[in-house]
């Protein structure tokens, strides 16, 4: 396959960026999208040019490192798939492909296709946990959980924290990400004692980081590689209102 690749190049967070066009002549349909970028980089190194930097690690769709807007869609054309699991057979010979980093104020570009997603970590640090320390916990089977609750909690817990939801949202909202954790812990008895405080703290931090609000367009669900449902946003809203109106401040 032959493709024309238009890649976003940006030297540093403060530099202006622009698209750079490269032609790749011998792309195999069995290559993953990132392997295609690898081959571009080999080509650039050969030509004594600086290769394109992009985040990637496990390349099996679970670590959440890769974060590419491909032809305007977070993680590209295939649903339920991270960019590293997208293969070139999803494209046609002669295609033009545009590759950009996540676009969101809360995810500033560090270089080329790499963004700073540490805002997600700070949201988790504000309350995305159960406050138990190591040891001194009850036997695992002393906490029964209905299977359907455990399954739904697991649906939410599969979030890989890639940020596609934010990148796809016109408001750069992090609601799907936050709701996945809030929902998981609200569904489980282990999360109950802190549920009010947790949701308030996480929402507060989300606002601090500059993520926008949710206006129910559901782009987030459409691009989520783990297909996390917007129903968790509904549960997040319910948790939040409950905490604000009836919760105890502490």
């Amino acid at each position: 396959m032959k493709i024309q690749l238009h890649v976003w190049r940006q030297e540093s967070p403060t530099a202006a960026g622009s698209f750079e066009t490269h032609v790749l002549d011998s792309v195999s349909p069995d290559m993953s999208f990132l392997e295609m970028l690898d081959s571009l980089n080999e080509q650039l190194i050969e030509a004594k040019k600086v290769p394109v930097d992009f985040d990637h690690d496990c390349r099996e769709g679970i670590c959440g490192s890769c974060s590419l807007n491909i032809n305007g869609v977070a993680h590209g054309p295939q649903s339920g798939t991270t960019a590293c699991q997208l293969h070139m057979r999803s494209f046609k010979d002669g295609d033009d492909i545009y590759v950009e980093p996540w676009r969101a104020n809360a995810f500033p570009v560090l270089k080329d296709l790499i963004t700073d997603r540490s805002g997600f970590d700070r949201i988790m640090q504000s309350g995305g946990f159960v406050s138990v320390s190591t040891a001194g916990v009850p036997d695992a089977n002393a906490i029964p959980v209905a299977k359907q609750d455990a399954d739904e909690a697991m649906d939410a817990a599969t979030c890989i924290g890639c940020g596609a939801c934010v990148a796809a949202c016109k408001n750069s909202s992090a609601m799907l990400f936050v709701s996945a954790k809030v929902s998981q812990l609200a569904l489980l008895p282990q999360g109950a004692p802190e549920r009010g405080r947790r949701v308030q703290a996480m929402i507060h931090q989300m606002d601090q980081e500059g993520f926008g609000h949710c206006s129910n367009t559901y782009e987030c669900e459409a691009v989520c590689p783990k297909e996390i449902s917007v129903r968790h946003i509904a549960r997040l809203n319910r948790e939040y209102f409950k905490a604000c109106f009836f919760g105890k401040e502490d």
Binding site: E11, P29, D30, M31, S32, L34, E35, D38, E42, I45, K48, V50, P51, D53, H56, D57, C58, R59, E60, I62, C63, G64, S65, Q85, H87, L110, I114, D116, S118, F120, D121, M124, Q125, F129, V130, S131, V132, S133, T134, A135, V137, P138, D139, A140, N141, P144, V145, A146, K147, A150, A153, M154, A157, T158, G161, Q184, L185, L188, Q190, G191
Partner: protein, 637 residues
């Protein structure tokens, strides 16, 4: 080299309890005076950093990823073993201990393995309390499944994403401590050296991967939870960033490296599709519960699989191991696949693959049941290969997956450098020559939550807090060496990319130190690797600059260390003149092609000591004493 394993006296089942009582404690008021550096944020590093912070120590935690949540523990699929005996099928601490020792082909330390089995149950309690959504039965209690190498159901799981869920549990505990200010987290930061002052580990030299700034950090103890060295093979199931640098730098500073030749090759991976391949993808070995492995009987048979009648197929695992069949342990299944392909009976591109066929299972159980059991794996397979495994058999081939060798540690998880502790896959202690499925998660978390937090107190209680100067000559020297090396890498400006050298090394390692090894091949590799290394230092091209984000520079540094480390692996494999677990020497096999161990001469841990640039490393030995189990030949026939 002092290899005192410090195994406590007394009966096996009382050692850990007694040891915990005998160890010195640091009082709560004094804990805050100590500072611990934890390198790595996976199951071992993340759980250790969180637990040490909960206890009141000041912790600095470093990881190369952009977030501690992305460490490669996240990719583990199948499950985690624990001797809970919830199903009431006869499991016990002793049985888990015994299975692990036997699975490791009698090359691990009894006391360590027993302790691992002993604390395994607490891990499940801890993770559950954190809100890890393990699979449950309708009654609301936890579900279990069976796994290779065991005859009881002791594996806990969260769909096919157990590693992810356990890591996110540890990450949540770590996040809580970061929020409380007890842990200072340094993401996108790579360790480039360990600093030893007065014979003790007192700090690290790191590079900020965003700004390129090189800096020093000091502490009262250093903990490495930096994972394994599988990427020395270039193609493996490890994440792209996994590397041996921290462990190898520690080795060069005096830490013994144990059993570097022990590598696990996992039998059920998706075969290589071309030279562009950057990494391999594993599929859970649970597939072998229902899939049948076969190759055509005839060499070079190129007919599509459905045209090959049953009588012309060789279901070689069922034929060779009638009682375990397709569920033979990992090392045996991998080696048999290689044999079939070496005999010219492999399938798919390049003949490097064997069929894993679900046609019989679909006939027997119906497609729906197969979909429920393996749906996500079939989906993943189809995504990567563009073939529908419900209709055509999967093609699989073994791939490098886990490394049992690692830095030598004593019972306290301390290396031969006082103050340098090593946990998780980075150490060598628990899996012997072969690791059983669902035991990696168990060991990482056991070390981080339940072992190190006790044993490190014993070390710190003898240390004066904050007794080194960050301007000490040792820090000065280490930092200068790191800077010089970076500058050298950038100045060569040769013709080949770091990846090209990595690929070349990987091929040598795979050919000569992979699934099967022999003297001639290893000797050839020991000759070839220094040649590649020499060319690397003359002809590598590292683009960009030392300042700022530069992924090529990161890669070049890691490849440079792999180029030295690979040679050490081959040396270890050459001296170990026996076949055990993942280490198969072709000279030492029975007439039927089974591994032949030599307990007389090799029931020991081989520990390598660095002797300086250009000198051969020295090999030391820690004899393994078995008081509670008897040597037995593993038989799965």
């Amino acid at each position: 080299m002092n290899l005192d394993s410090k195994i406590p006296e007394g009966p096996l089942s009382e050692k850990w309890q007694k040891h915990k009582f005998n160890m010195k404690l640091v009082s709560p008021a004094n804990k805050r005076k100590y500072h611990v550096i934890v390198v790595g944020s996976g199951l071992a590093g993340g759980s250790a950093a969180a637990t040490l912070a909960e206890l009141g120590y000041n912790v600095s935690c470093f990881c190369y990823q952009d977030s501690p949540r992305r460490a490669h523990s996240i990719a583990a699929q199948g499950g985690i073993n624990a001797a809970k005996n919830y199903p009431g099928d006869g499991d016990s601490v002793f049985r888990l201990f015994y299975d692990t020792i036997k699975g490791g082909d009698f090359r691990s330390r009894e006391a360590n393995v027993y302790r691992l089995a002993e604390v395994s149950a607490s891990i499940i309690d801890q993770a559950t309390a954190q809100g890890v959504p393990f699979a449950r039965e309708y009654g609301g209690l936890l579900a279990n499944r069976s796994f290779g190498g065991a005859q009881v159901s002791r594996t806990f799981y969260a769909r096919g994403q157990t590693g992810q869920q356990l890591l996110l549990g540890a990450y949540s505990a770590l996040s809580r401590q970061i929020g409380l200010g007890q842990v200072k987290m340094y993401p996108r930061t790579e360790i480039l050296d360990v600093v030893v002052v007065g014979g003790k580990a007192k700090g690290v030299i790191v590079r900020d991967m965003v700004t390129g700034k090189i800096s020093r950090y000091k502490a009262d103890a250093v903990v490495l939870g930096t994972g394994g060295y599988g990427n020395v093979f270039y193609l493996s199931t490890n994440a792209m960033g996994c590397n041996v640098t921290a462990a190898y730098r520690a080795y060069k500073r005096g830490a013994g490296f144990a059993n570097p030749c022990y590598t696990q090759i996992h039998p059920t991976c998706i075969p290589v599709s071309g030279t562009h391949q950057s990494k391999l993808t594993l599929m859970s070995e649970s597939l072998r519960n229902d899939g049948r492995v076969w190759v055509p009987q005839q060499q070079g048979d190129s007919r599509p699989p459905h045209e090959i009648p049953d009588t012309e197929r060789d279901y070689y695992l069922e034929r060779k191991y009638p009682s375990f069949g397709n569920l033979a342990p990992r090392d045996i299944a991998s080696r048999s696949a290689k044999e079939a392909c070496d005999a010219g009976r492999g399938v798919g591109p390049g003949g490097l693959g064997v069929y894993l066929d679900f046609a019989d299972a679909i006939r027997r159980l119906g497609e729906q049941t197969v979909r429920e059991r393996y749906g996500n794996l079939f989906h993943m397979y189809q995504k990567i290969t563009d073939e529908n495994p419900y209709q055509v058999p999967m093609r699989i081939y073994p791939a490098v997956h886990y490394t049992m060798g690692g830095l030598w540690v004593d019972y306290n998880l301390q290396s031969t450098i006082p103050g340098l502790h090593v946990i998780g896959e980075a150490n060598f202690s628990d899996h012997g020559a072969n690791r059983l499925g669902a035991s990696a998660l168990m060991q990482g978390l056991a070390d981080g939550y339940f072992v190190l937090p006790y044993t490190i107190g014993n070390y710190l209680s003898g240390e004066v807090p904050d007794d080194v100067d960050i301007d000490a000559p040792e820090f000065e020297r280490a930092e200068k060496e790191v800077r010089d090396r970076m500058a050298q890498l950038l100045s060569i400006q040769g013709k080949k990319s770091p990846t090209a050298f990595h690929r070349e090394l990987g091929q040598v390692m795979w050919d000569h130190c992979g699934m099967a090894r022999n003297r001639a091949g290893l000797e050839k590799a020991i000759q070839r690797i220094p040649e590649i290394r020499e060319e690397f230092w003359q002809n590598v091209r590292v683009t960009g600059a030392g300042e700022g984000l530069n992924q090529q520079l990161e890669l070049a540094g890691r490849v440079a260390d792999f180029l030295e480390y690979g040679e050490l692996m081959c040396r270890d494999a050459l001296v170990r003149e026996e076949s055990c677990g993942g280490h198969f020497r072709e000279e030492y096999q029975s007439e039927e092609g089974e591994a032949v161990r030599n307990d007389q001469d090799f029931a020991h841990v081989a520990v390598w000591e660095y002797q300086g640039q250009g000198k051969d490393p020295a090999r030391h030995v820690e004899q393994l004493e078995y008081e509670n189990v008897k040597f037995a030949t593993r038989s799965y026939k």
